[in-house]
């Protein structure tokens, strides 16, 4: 019986913890978003080469960063779930996937939108763009595999394997600009070198990145809560929740 208690307690306590954390992260997301957008559209100077179009960068770059970062986080939690059979981490991984796919799509879309004025075409088959597209397919693969499996335990584990195998793609995306000579911009923000861009631009981008980050956390927590409710619907605490005992 003691073992059972442990097994079921952790998603339950996470459920309530997440519920308490969501408002704070939402507020942070909104604040960062307002400040970031203000800098992006009013404070940052017009670029002398690219005109106003460059302002897409404030969405494009944070979205692209987030898309890769979320994949790594998703693979990490999925891997933990696979290795230690902790159901909560697998649920978190499943909760991350749609947000990750959304940002990948956003990066692709804003990139394409930006490409039209900059390169004169929506799309080129260059290494970074292609590998970002592969990332999108990896997210889709992860989600459709999980959707195709009815048994959640099996879905978690199968998803974990494909997520882990797909991690090889992340360095390929990141380093693609260095490995192949491409049309796409190289990394201009790096921990080792000092930044090459205007401070206002840089700070706007970083703040937008924070906003996107907070937003992701909020979305993931909300989705994780839904997944927990769905998966634990037969347990005592969920039925108590339904009857309002725990409210």
């Amino acid at each position: 019986m003691t073992i059972n208690w442990f097994k079921y307690a952790s998603p339950a306590s996470f459920y309530f913890l997440a519920g308490r954390m969501i408002p704070y992260f939402s507020i942070a997301a909104i604040i960062f978003l307002i400040v970031g957008l203000y800098i992006a559209f009013f404070s940052a100077p017009t670029d002398f080469q690219q005109g106003e179009a460059y302002r897409i960068i404030f969405i494009h770059v944070p979205a692209a960063w987030m898309s890769m970062f979320l994949y790594v986080v998703m693979a990490f939690w999925a891997g933990i779930g696979l290795a230690f059979n902790t159901r909560l981490s697998s649920m978190v991984a499943s909760a991350i996937a749609p947000t990750g796919a959304m940002f990948t799509f956003l990066a692709l879309w804003t990139g394409a939108w930006w490409g039209k004025p900059m390169w004169g075409t929506w799309w080129v088959w260059d290494a970074r763009l292609t590998s970002e597209l592969i990332l999108f397919f990896l997210y889709i693969g992860f989600m459709s595999l999980q959707a195709a499996i009815d048994d959640p335990r099996r879905a978690d584990k199968a998803g974990a394997i494909i997520a882990l195998v797909g991690v090889v793609n992340i360095p390929i995306i990141y380093f693609s600009v260095q490995w192949w000579n491409t049309l796409h911009q190289g990394a201009s923000v790096s921990l080792i070198q000092s930044p090459k861009m205007a401070t206002a631009m840089l700070s706007g981008m970083l703040i937008m990145a924070l906003a996107v980050w907070m937003y992701s956390i909020v979305m993931i927590l909300i989705r994780a809560r839904l997944i927990i409710l769905e998966r634990e619907r037969h347990t005592a605490w969920v039925s108590e929740l339904k009857e309002g005992v725990l409210e």
Partner: protein, 219 residues
Amino acid sequence: MIWWIIKRDLLLAMRRRSDVLTTLFFFVIVVSLFPLGVGPEASILRIMASGVVWVAALLASMLSLGRMFSSDYADGTLEQMLLSPVSLSALVMGKAISHWLVTGVPLVLMAPVLGIQYDLPVEALIVLTLSLLLGTPVLSLIGAIGAALTLGLRGGGVLVSILVLPLYIPVLIFGTGAVEASTAGMGFGAHFSILGAFLLVSIVFSPWATAASLRISMG
């Protein structure tokens, strides 16, 4: 009766929602692979575009032929179809229609989006889509014959492609031909009428040939 078959096959497809999406993704991925293999020069890509999209559609349609009868064969449903008082040709027609609805229609809808990636002009996009709309049902109908003939043979999945691809080729030639004619500023009406003729002929003959093949395979 034919509705029952269509309804059932669509139900089966919907039961795994991913099923419809996956053919589509296969199509998208194949179309996206070529530029990777060939290199990103836009001028070359534009020439290849209609060919690549058509070949990908053809492969996507062919890939899913395996599923058309094989699961019905393995679980004994096909036996029941042969013994059904309903005409086998009608049943077969139903299966071909649902195959087209599940695999062909999504491809037709997706084609313009992919064409944009290859930087095709708007008129070419429209012609490409229409040519697929006329051509993909032919693929499903012809494919049904091949799928029926190779039923129960090991390696059928690949055998079917040998049988079916030669028959697909005329469709491919006139489908891409229409797009090229329109890009070259010539009329594409002739190509469309030929595709239409293919469609009519295959609607008339394919269910009959498929039914006969099924009876032979099950004999």
